[in-house]
């Protein structure tokens, strides 16, 4: 697609410290924890502290990305933050990030919303700007502090976390060979303005939404590149639960060794705009130069962005410059449901 080699100059993540287990939520609502864990394939999820939000997560991830990118922040020409929990309805998260990484003022910035694929939308935009030579480096971030209504099944999975990617032409830890998207107006999951919690179409969120778009985008990308599943070392997908990504991976023809390393949802939950990007970051933490990774996001509403990422030699020296995904996952403190409700401000005072 692009003549110029464009890719990831640096990447960084942030996952909050608190965790709540499925059992501790199920107990309150009188649900069968064992059944939920078996069907959603999730054990616990990440919960933000009272003083954390999508902006603070975005900043920490961005600072980590810059540590790996080794780029002067003043050279960042664009910042896009994708989230469905931006702290403000009007006033961009991207400018808070710009100030916090000292990238002001010679840049463009905006916030994106497209459910869980707002972060990858930012990656595509940066690829375009960098590829066209309009900017030297772009910063794309997916960060969320997602909310599930008390008692709703989403409560087990809606989590907090984020990942940031510095997109550029030089000093790449991985190049992005191509991107391909599938987008339709599919109302599977939404939140109206002013509402605290989202609503969804139940089983409608499966085949007509997640599976159709993820499959089409991933398959479309492979067709465009003339590649097949065996040409990839890893495949990582948006992870609303532990079941969906494994099912779509199998349908596309990927083996479990290609898919399992990128699965994080069982231990941190669905980090929404951060989900597929955190999965990519995990794979960059462990992959070797030459590995090819298929990344496919999904955002309700609905759409999927697929990327073919090829790991470059610079990953070896840059990888250790910031904490890894596993280091953030290992750093955890459990909370009970009462503390969880206080932290997520579900109690109105």
């Amino acid at each position: 697609m692009s003549c110029v080699k464009v890719g990831i100059t640096g990447y960084g993540v942030y996952i909050p410290r608190y965790r709540i287990k499925v059992e501790d939520i199920a107990r309150v609502w009188g649900s069968d924890a064992g059944a939920i864990k078996a069907s959603l394939k999730i054990a616990e999820k990440a919960v933000p502290a009272l003083d954390e939000d999508a902006a603070t997560i975005a900043v920490e991830a961005a600072r980590n990305a810059l540590r790996r990118a080794q780029v002067n922040p003043e050279k960042i020409g664009a910042i896009y933050v994708g989230s469905e929990s931006h702290p403000y309805a009007v006033k961009p998260t991207a400018t808070i990030v710009a100030a916090a990484i000292r990238a002001e003022p010679h840049l463009t910035a905006a916030d994106y919303e497209f459910a869980c694929k707002a972060g990858t939308a930012g990656v595509q935009t940066c690829m375009g700007l960098v590829g066209a030579g309009m900017i030297d480096y772009g910063l794309a971030i997916g960060a969320d502090t997602a909310q599930g209504a008390p008692g709703d099944p989403l409560e087990y999975t809606a989590a907090a976390g984020g990942a940031a990617f510095v997109i550029g032409r030089e000093k790449l830890v991985a190049s992005i060979e191509a991107t391909y998207s599938c987008t339709t107006d599919t109302p599977d999951f939404w939140r109206r303005e002013g509402q605290a919690y989202p609503r969804h179409g139940g089983r409608f969120t499966g085949l007509p939404a997640y599976f159709k778009h993820v499959y089409s985008a991933a398959r479309g990308l492979m067709d465009k590149l003339g590649l097949e599943p065996e040409d990839f070392t890893y495949a990582v997908f948006h992870q609303p639960n532990g079941k969906f990504p494994r099912v779509v991976a199998k349908k596309l023809g990927f083996a479990s060794e290609q898919v399992e390393p990128g699965i994080l949802v069982d231990r941190i939950g669905n980090t929404y705009s951060g989900s597929s990007l955190l999965g990519l970051a995990k794979l960059l933490d462990i992959s070797e130069p030459g590995d090819r990774i298929l990344v496919t996001s999904f955002g309700s509403g609905a759409g999927s962005d697929a990327f073919s990422v090829v790991v470059e030699p610079a990953i070896e020296e840059k990888r250790s410059l910031a904490p890894s995904v596993e280091q953030y996952i290992a750093r955890k403190v459990y909370v009970d449901y009462a503390s969880y409700v206080k932290l997520r401000k579900k109690i109105r005072v």
Binding site: L50, D51, E52, E60, P87, A99, A100, R102, R331
Partner: protein, 133 residues
């Protein structure tokens, strides 16, 4: 509770620990000052970004919080001396109050300091957490 112009003027200090150093006597100021307290009119101040690494000089646990901090209570507040020699007042996060010790090494993180109710501005800035060995 906060003032918009005042917060905006201090934003780089709050977000990025930007202080000032006097080129004449070397004294580092954080928060930044416009006048070197030692050299006064003879001093010349330049911008300096602090490392964000330091150690705890003293600490307390606030149990009767001021307005805007009620939900966070009890929380740990500390005096932290940075590597550059200056000391600042900050909240310690990601730590149990019982685990805090004088001399503990800490590093800065980006968090919400306070917000002006549900409809007002959100004030972000630095807090500190223990350095993980």
């Amino acid at each position: 509770m906060g003032s918009i112009p005042r917060f905006w003027r201090n934003m780089q200090s709050r977000y990025n620990l930007i202080g000032r150093r006097c080129t004449r006597c070397g004294e580092v100021y954080f928060p930044p000052r416009n006048f070197c307290a030692r050299c006064r009119r003879r001093g010349k101040l330049e911008e300096v970004q602090l490392s964000g690494r330091g150690e705890v000089v003293s600490y307390t646990v606030i149990r009767t919080p001021p307005e805007g901090f009620e939900r966070q209570a009890p929380y740990v507040m500390a005096l932290v001396r940075l590597e550059e020699g200056v000391m600042l007042t900050t909240q310690l996060v990601d730590v149990n109050p019982e685990e805090v010790e004088i001399g503990m090494r800490v590093e800065s993180v980006f968090r919400k300091i306070q917000e002006d109710g549900e409809a007002g501005l959100i004030y972000y800035g630095f807090k500190f957490k223990p350095v993980e060995e």
